[in-house]
Symmetry: C2
């Protein structure tokens, strides 16, 4: 399904994010020339700029917009929260690509950070991006109530940490048999849990952050968090499908990695047709959750369709 | 100078921190067994438990105590802030020890994390500890005003990030000639800046965090932050001195590293005698800054003497 209006909107947003990031990474906290180590900042820019769908920050912004909060608000809270989340996503890619981890040389059609620079710089650039995320969420100049911003800090730390993304990456390495000579295939529950942690947690958080910035009521928050979870499930299932059906030149990164490593996915367990059907069900559930928000939620509905049905 | 009362107090505090960390790392955020990847948590425990002077969290707690805030407060804010800072310190050691960084096999007399486990686990354990720090600072159950806790988040992100610790580590690698075949020795100003970022920022933050938790007045906050800066300067100068004068068996880690790598330090620039004299001056300045706090500040004064005059 091609939705040119949505793809145009997402792509325009990606351009805005790029514009927002440029000065952020040229004028980082710290004093004087020496406090902005040039090579480290260049590596951070390499990691953050020049590509990426910007799906996570898009979800933050579009969810906040449901409640009339605009990215242009002078407080900048929405924009800072969106950028913080993208910093965490980008740091995770830099570290995951390292030789000791997935050892990937290609990302978004470009050399990965440790290839373009070196391993030490890539480790530190990832560390600095993760730290910058929490700096952005706690900037003294933002004006949202401190309690809301503290909830954003807490949510991001939970989504990104041991019980979320980092823990999921660890489980993923374990699933490749990295730490255990006797490897066993993961069961469906384990695959779902792994994916909910590794990729689901940040997507769920994107929607939650937007809802909190929009001061959603409890029932709205719960519905939107569930929407975020479903979007995460659909994202990962679509990713697994693309990993089996697309080649690297389309994706701008290595594909068929899961099959090559013998990792189980829901696609390998249930087949391509069942995966496509499940994606359709997830989209329907996502759309139903957004019904109470009326036409304001059309963009988020299109986002769910895009996540589930994209071809790259 | 031996101060048995102080050393006893610091060592008792280290025991309390250990006790505090054990359940924290056994019951991390996330649900169910699979959300607590056992190997990752074991690596985090290896990084955090079993040693360390716990100087940074000690400074948080003792500074807060100047204002009558006790670690036993039911809010737990002081304890969480102290633990958060120690998590950041420990993560930085794990990443700095990696083969691509300083390639150290020994830390506190034990194998470093990537030696005891593996590189991927060490990278992720560091990432998880850094993230856990911000989780701890933003726990919903803490009761200090959100604005105070948000200031602690902001301060930690600044102290640990690009303009602080991570940036300092990058400058340190550059000073070893890692990225530049034509190496030049650092000048005194550059050494001071590097050290203020790499190790000074977290020590300064320790005192700042304690003062903010104690709701210090502006003038008190400024004096204490300066005290934290001086403590940081003394810490690094003492470290450089020990690196030249002690051997690895006493320190529990590799020594003479700076000399081996040809990095300039203030000791190599000015000599051992001048370094000892400067340490004495720093202690005197630190004590003078604490005069307004009277006898309540005796422990912090002893901490400054300990930092400057320690033999390991």
């Amino acid at each position: 399904m091609i939705e040119p209006d949505f793809e145009h909107r997402l792509s325009a947003f990606a351009g805005e994010m790029e514009t927002f990031f440029v000065p952020l990474l040229a004028d980082a906290p710290g004093e004087g020339e020496m406090a902005r180590p040039a090579r480290l900042m260049a590596a951070m820019r390499h990691a953050v700029l020049g590509g990426g769908k910007r799906l996570r920050p898009f979800l933050v912004v579009e969810t906040a917009r449901l409640f009339g909060r605009e990215i242009g608000d002078k407080s900048g809270d929405v924009r800072f929260a969106a950028a913080a989340l993208e910093c965490v996503h980008c740091y995770s890619l830099v570290h995951d690509d390292l030789p000791a981890m997935d050892n990937d040389a290609l990302r978004r059609g470009q050399p990965t950070v440790h290839v373009a620079f070196d391993e030490a710089t890539a480790i530190l650039a990832g560390d600095a991006l993760l730290t910058l995320a929490f700096d952005l969420l706690s900037r003294p100049e933002a004006e949202a109530e401190p309690a809301v911003r503290l909830a954003l800090v807490s949510g991001l730390a939970r989504a990104a940490g041991l019980g979320g993304m980092v823990g999921g990456q660890m489980l993923d390495l374990a699933a490749e048999g990295r730490f255990d000579p006797v490897r066993r295939a993961l069961g469906e529950d384990e695959i779902r849990r792994l994916q909910a942690m590794k990729t689901g947690a940040l997507l769920r958080y994107a929607v939650e952050a937007g809802a909190r910035l929009g001061r959603a009521e409890d029932a709205e928050l719960a519905a939107l968090i569930r929407f975020g979870e479903i979007t995460g499930l659909a994202f990962q299932l679509a990713d697994d499908l693309l990993d089996e059906t697309q080649d690297a030149s389309v994706m701008g990164k290595a594909t068929a990695k899961d099959a090559g490593k013998g990792k189980g996915t829901l696609v390998s367990l249930h087949g391509i047709e069942m995966a496509r059907q499940t994606l359709g069900d997830l989209v329907a559930e996502a759309e139903a959750l957004l019904e109470p928000f009326g036409a304001h939620a059309d963009v988020l509905k299109a986002a769910a369709r895009f996540v589930a049905l994209r071809d790259r």
